[in-house]
């Protein structure tokens, strides 16, 4: 097992640059998740590490080896694909043993290692089957098993759960977490789903438009985001952003007709700021008429109130109370300074 280091990694297609000078250190045994909206370059970056995309500039090291221009087959990685990519003409057993066979391992040893992996992944009963006779979840387990048996230095996962239905996705997420705990290998995992990122990662890398926005542990990103993008991307439902203006060292929020304190270094007088509050930290109050309670969604244990400002902007509030304010009522909201973040209105960087 080895860590992975990217140094000023760049990817261009012709004149279009899709990965911009990425520096990143992934430690040995770490579970690192690349997350971001579609088109942010997270899969491209993974494929560059795998050797499936050429690196246009910069350097990629796996352990102590510079693999930047090495063939995929020589990098000592194993990749799990969203579409499983199982070989239809081989049985589950042959699929799982493929990596060892290619590396010239004796048959008896292959059999032993496949048996071990299939026991962990509960695939013993399916070893003689062809992939098409398996369910989606079983196929994904075979794909993971194929990677395990190969015994790679680094595991690469490219949105491995996106083709599974919601319930199975939660189960497989827990299985992957347990797998990492058990074998302790370096894993790099790509997803667009922030819940997967939050629950699986030791280290999350948030990407946007081919650039790293922030790197950190899940709770670091949740509690201390560097900018508006990360704050809005991590956490569900998304953080609310209210428009504000600096006024006499405080922040005026026109939509709420209110001036609030701010314990951060604000930009100059009259400059715009964004006031960020998570839906969990807002209370709806009937003592005001700044907002309208548009729609209430009840999910049993929890409810979401969608409020509208006079400009038509939406504010989401999470409540678990059974309190009944009618849809269509005029309301206002309360929130505490300690749960409020401020962002520069122009650069969208966090103000601290």
């Amino acid at each position: 097992m080895s860590g992975v280091t990217l140094t000023q990694a760049v990817k261009k297609y012709g004149d279009t640059q899709v990965i911009h000078n990425v520096d990143l250190q992934i430690d040995e045994g770490e579970f690192c998740v690349f997350v971001g909206p579609s088109g942010c370059g997270k899969s491209t970056l993974l494929r560059m590490i795998a050797g499936l995309e050429e690196t246009s500039a910069g350097q990629i090291d796996i352990g102590a080896r510079d693999v930047t221009h090495m063939d995929a087959s020589d990098r000592g990685v194993a990749m799990v694909f969203q579409t499983y990519a199982l070989y239809p003409h081989m049985t589950v057993e042959e699929n799982m043993g493929f990596g060892l066979k290619m590396n010239g391992v004796p048959k008896a040893e292959i059999k032993a290692k496949v048996g071990e992996a299939s026991r962990i992944l509960k695939l013993d009963d399916y070893l003689k089957r062809k992939p098409k006779a398996l369910s989606g979840g079983q196929r994904q387990r075979v794909a993971i098993g194929r990677a395990i048996v190969r015994g790679p230095e680094v595991f690469l996962f490219d949105e491995p759960l996106s083709n599974l239905d919601a319930e199975l996705r939660v189960d497989m997420r827990v299985e992957i977490a347990r797998l990492h705990k058990d074998i302790g290998a370096t894993m790099i995992y790509v997803t667009h789903d922030q819940v997967e990122a939050m629950t699986l990662a030791d280290k999350i890398v948030v990407l946007r438009a081919g650039r790293i926005e922030q790197v950190g542990s899940p709770m670091q990103l949740y509690k201390d985001p560097d900018n508006r993008f990360v704050a809005g991307f991590i956490g569900s439902p998304s953080m609310n952003f209210l428009n504000g203006v600096v006024e006499g060292g405080k922040v005026r929020i026109p939509d709420l007709n209110r001036v609030i304190e701010a314990n951060v270094t604000l930009p100059g007088e009259g400059k715009p700021v964004l006031v960020g509050v998570r839906p969990q930290h807002i209370r709806v109050s009937e003592q005001g008429d700044d907002l309208t309670l548009d729609i209430r969604e009840r999910l049993g244990g929890v409810a979401y109130d969608y409020l509208l400002t006079k400009n038509g902007d939406k504010i989401t509030v999470e409540t678990d109370s059974d309190e009944e304010i009618d849809e269509g009522s005029t309301v206002t909201i309360e929130f505490d300074l300690e749960n409020t973040m401020f962002f520069d209105g122009e650069t969208e960087q966090r103000l601290r």
Partner: protein, 212 residues
Amino acid sequence: MEWLSIEEWNAVALSLRVSLWATFAALPLGLLTAYALARWEFPGRQILNGLVHLPLILPPVVTGYLLLLTFGIRGPVGSLLHEMGITLAFRWTGAALAAAIMGFPLMVRAMRLSIEAVDPKLEQAAATLGASRFWVFVTITLPLILPGILAGSILAFAKAMGEFGATITFVSNIPGQTQTLPSAIYAFLQVPGGESSALRLVIISVIVAMGA
């Protein structure tokens, strides 16, 4: 073979020889072309694609005529080959060339479709599992496209067995030399009393076509 005359038998044997040669000789080039068209991006890809499909678009007689111009004894390639001791025009080898060229688009198309149907992720997965390019092709790509290669070869063989227009134009219709099955049927129909010979050969043709 008592119920076939020597002339009829000659035509059947010649057709089989011509078609088998045409198919096997075209196979490696066809596979390479199909792979290039399916997977590689290169300048002139569209032109190559058009060129391959040309025999399907042109009337067979025209193809035969162009072959005659090119590979005839006085043609640019033909005269060169003639000096090297290889003559194509009005020989069974020429019939095989005509059959190969006419069957080529069908062969390439079937192979190309089967190659395009292979998910590149399968090959990429094999690469990340440590398989070199050669082994990826042998263990993953080849087994998956085998049905396409087979289908393409059968199509080309069937086309070769039935090819008439290009063959008769390029190598004429010389009994025992270049008279393939379709040429023989045609020839028998021109002669009064040849209908029964033609019928027998038609039956053989139909059986071969259905079998393929």
